[in-house]
Amino acid sequence: MMPVILEAPYQGEVALHLRYLRACMRDCLLRNEAPFAWAHLYAAPGVLRHDYIEERQLGLQAKVVWRQYAERTVFYSDLGWSDEMVHSRNVCTRDGWAYEVRFLNDGWLTAQLEREAAGDALDDWLHSFGG
């Protein structure tokens, strides 16, 4: 499978953006890509605090290490371009890294909620956040 860096918005409507990020991860996997979604790792509760610039920068620098090994960066932009996505696209352009811009479709949230309901993970993940 092809390793790719996945970029999607995080800040702002974080809960919606996380659901979107998960739908994008699935989209990549169905294209036979192995996505690296740094926000789904390093911004999780108790890892690095995304609202503290020093810790956010640590996460971004950790992502950069993996970019050099990825085949390309894929930007999912149904929900727009965050500052970090724009910065990342500029870095790709500047340094000659391949990238691609994608969209899911208008029905992505409905499809995501249906998949969540069909799987066993929802309760476990909810409890892992103290629910």
Partner: protein
Amino acid sequence: MMHLFIPVVLETPYSGAVPLHLRYLRACMRDCLMRGEAPFASHHQYTAPGVLRDEIPSEREHGIRAGFAWRALAHKTVFYIDYGWSSGMLDGRESAAQLVQPFEVRLLGPHWLEDQLARESRGDALMHWFRSVAAP
């Protein structure tokens, strides 16, 4: 200041006591980052709600194959074993051996959960992540 991170694959248990294991995994990710490592943890991405279903063998296998794409690129694999070795971790150790890739075995120690809960309570993430898996 720019830090130079080392890319590592992070292996911890997932199945069984999943909520506890997820919290443990997050504590391990932070431990790696504080050591100057950039951890890749496939089970904090591909098993998330609505991505791949770990309980469906074909989807679980797909996630393992995707994780392998990154393992081959990492400088080493790190295993955290406060909760023992899962079958997936044993497979990971076998894969690392086949790749002749270094690996390291670590423990967080008895206070990891207390520390993790304290960190969670200090950030804004918990509420957002909770809402991301709650009914909309």
